[in-house]
């Protein structure tokens, strides 16, 4: 069965600091990985996704993630965070059966201080 784990439950940064949120996956088949974001008061939405090809994927709002197969990792990064990046971030795998049951990490709450 697929699983993901996120190492940081709560991260606090100042504006312009660099961000890296950890995500490790456990899965033996074809790997597809997602990062979702939930801004305060908004619905959960896709930030970026990896299916195949270039292991460095770019998403919305300047976020990127790197798939490192040897480390079973898919860490989320942003060189310089803004106050508006304050949100909860979830790493996820999409499911490997017809049901497509996505499995989510426990989430990381990012607070960016202005």
């Amino acid at each position: 069965a697929q699983s993901v784990s996120q190492h940081n439950h709560h991260v606090i940064l100042s504006e312009a600091a660099s961000l890296e949120l950890g995500c490790n996956y456990s899965y033996g088949g074809t790997v597809n990985l997602f990062w979702y974001v939930q801004y305060p008061g908004q619905h959960l939405q896709l930030l970026l996704k990896y299916f195949s090809g270039d292991p460095l994927v770019k998403g919305i709002k300047g976020f990127e993630a790197e798939f490192i197969k040897s480390k079973f990792s898919f860490n989320l990064r942003k060189p310089s965070v803004q106050w508006s990046d304050t949100a909860e971030y979830f790493c996820a795998v999409p499911g490997d059966t017809n049901a497509g049951k996505s499995t989510f990490g426990d989430g990381t709450t990012l607070t960016v201080k202005p």
Binding site: H43, L44, F90, P94, N98, A99, G100, S102, T103, D106
Partner: protein, 112 residues
Amino acid sequence: SQTIHQWPATLVQPVGSPLSLECTVEGTSNPNLYWYRQAAGRGLQLLFYSVGIGQISSEVPQNLSASRPQDRQFILSSKKLLLSDSGFYLCAWKTGVVTEAFFGQGTRLTVV
């Protein structure tokens, strides 16, 4: 374009009362539908999923049930709410196995 509607946004219900949360999807056919519960610091717990009309699978034993009376309608119900049913409930849909999930705005349920 596809959209998902989930209502109500907030709900306060007394213990022992019934529950009905509704979710509808527009702009797609035969989606996979999901109900999740989100708890602070514990991620998203999958409660139910459905791959077609009338087909419901439960992931965890609980006081809740789900139904899918129409292709794009998914309902989360309870006959008698418990205090432990309080939480944030999310409806989601997908078109395929490895595609992204699209989420509704969620319902904050407080059982008092």
